[in-house]
Point group: C2
Chain length 337, copies 2
């Protein structure tokens, strides 16, 4: 039978109320007493019962991560989860993971979830992070939340990274290698990621003084197959591009597949770069030039920010974390090597 707060109080020779004060970080406990109680806690190996605590204190010490049901092997979600768990480590908070299909009437169903678990805070990932109706419901329920890479102003706490600048940077890399005809396979419409990356692509062209050629941009949906289709379309142009920037790594792999089928050498005949820095970018040959999206950091920071906001209910914030470029063998100067 594990120790209870009462046992700790007896061991330290104080009242349970005082132990409770120590546990909850109340200031009005003298340092010496506090130390003695903390010693008792350690001695008895005491850990407060989370259920009792949340029931009595009307706090759950739970942070819920709401994400879309990930398709097979979404390393994005995995990394996010790792980051979230990491942020909870060493705090009294715990993470609850909750995959929610994007399709449904999320804003309605969220009530049931909240009623059951009473999370103290939520972290939302796209596409939920862009669900205005959902955010509004959370505001009504008065539950603090943070979003990751949200497009919405509405979100008071958002963490992300400068996707537009990153995209511009990677396209700039292609330009600096000498490419002038650079194709782009854009992401799924409605995603912030699509817009930002496309904007970055245009920024880089503008900066290089290259006219934007709309025939070099095709739509994709972030899936492999759409990368294949996009590459097919681009490579069938009368004057095909010498490099293709796909809006994510999976689509970049699709481009590489199409090049493989056509017997085009990468990077000899075609340079390819992706976005996200998923594991596949290292495993594929040649290694894929890409931007590493700092998922762990995002997950970690999203949790920390929202917990922070519970303490001092101040400052909305839009944190931006740094990203890393991975320049690998899939990009080189245009023309046969």
């Amino acid at each position: 039978m594990p120790a209870r707060i009462e046992d700790v109080a007896a061991h330290a020779g104080v009242s349970t109320k005082t132990v409770s004060r120590v546990l909850n970080g109340y200031p009005s406990v003298r340092a010496r007493l506090r130390a003695r109680i903390e010693a008792s806690i350690r001695a008895l190996n005491y850990v407060p019962n989370a259920s009792a605590r949340s029931l009595a204190g009307n706090r759950s010490y739970l942070v819920a991560l709401l994400y879309d049901n990930p398709m097979a092997g979404s390393s994005y979600t995995m990394e996010l989860i790792v980051g979230v768990l990491q942020a909870c480590k060493g705090t009294p908070y715990n993470a609850v993971l909750h995959p929610f299909d994007a399709a449904d009437d999320l804003a309605a169903r969220i009530d049931g979830f909240v009623a059951t678990h009473r999370p103290d805070a939520l972290v939302l990932v796209p596409p939920h992070a862009n669900n205005a109706e959902l955010l509004q419901r959370l505001d009504e329920l008065d539950i603090p939340y943070s979003t990751i890479s949200s497009r919405l102003r509405q979100s008071r706490i958002d963490v992300g990274f400068d996707e537009r600048r990153a995209a511009a940077e990677i396209v700039g890399h292609l330009v600096s290698l000498g490419h002038r005809r650079i194709g782009h396979i854009a992401g799924l419409k409605g995603h912030g990621a699509r817009t930002w990356r496309l904007s970055g692509y245009r920024d880089a062209l503008r900066k290089a003084g290259i006219a934007y050629d709309e025939s070099l941009v095709v739509d994709g949906d972030f899936a492999f197959a759409s990368g294949v289709a996009g590459a097919r379309a681009l490579l069938d142009r009368r004057r095909p591009p010498t490099a293709i920037f796909a809006a994510n790594d999976d689509m970049a792999c699709g481009v590489m597949r199409e090049a493989y089928e056509r017997g085009l050498a990468i990077p000899g005949d075609l340079s390819v770069c992706g976005f996200d820095g998923t594991p596949v970018s290292q495993l594929i040959s040649p290694g894929l030039t890409t931007v590493h999206q700092p998922c762990r950091e995002l997950g970690c920071l999203a949790v920390q920010s929202v917990l922070q906001s519970i303490r001092d209910s101040a400052a909305p914030q839009q944190a931006r974390v740094p990203y890393r470029m991975h320049l690998r063998a899939s990009t080189a100067a245009p023309g046969k090597p």
Copy 2:
């Protein structure tokens, strides 16, 4: 303020205890009454409060998944998590994820974890699933657990799939294509996966009447780099193999990298196959022939089995789930096409 059980009881005109019975699936509630109460539950949009439930019931409704700290983008772990969460859906149970470094004195540290979260059940993944000391400690603590792909007899509830047969099958595929010199890059020593897959390899050779050539088997550790190194070793033999079976997909990608560096065509000069069916196997070009490990199903079944065992504390079981072969373009008949 969400509805409480008391509200439901009042609405249905019964005692709270009876509502509780319905909630917990007790048999002794007359069908008509049950229906009436269920209607009230729906009408009030009632969801039980998890904390109160676990406090009163002396149950946590928590299933803990103990896994090794995954390296970046372990799709294995991700898929497992998805399966575990899926199994919890619709039940009162929730999942707690707990990455534990394999290195340490796990059996000792588990006590703290159990004291904090009081999980009703645990699910163990390799390498923890093979930690005899850990399992023993759990037996002592009397916490029900299930394992995934454990080598240990000790585990009363284990789910897995027939890795040996799957490996034999995929090597049989290479044989049927006409390969006689088939290399193997084995997994990390100590892992069941290494042993089973290696055994399957030998089974297939034996069945085909091909003598086992120990110089065609090299050690790997399941990581990409060891696949590169293994391929390098095998391809440097006086008579290199015409096909390589890597014990997992990441190492198979390593083989493809080395082939790429040497200018060897796949499958023209070398056939390659992997194991696990991770996302990269589809994304890489050519597509990688592999066995799909049913991770989601494993995670889901592991949870269901252990929860089942809590209800009727009977029958140890060793469930085996089916796997799928993915024959793709990385394997073909030997010799230039």
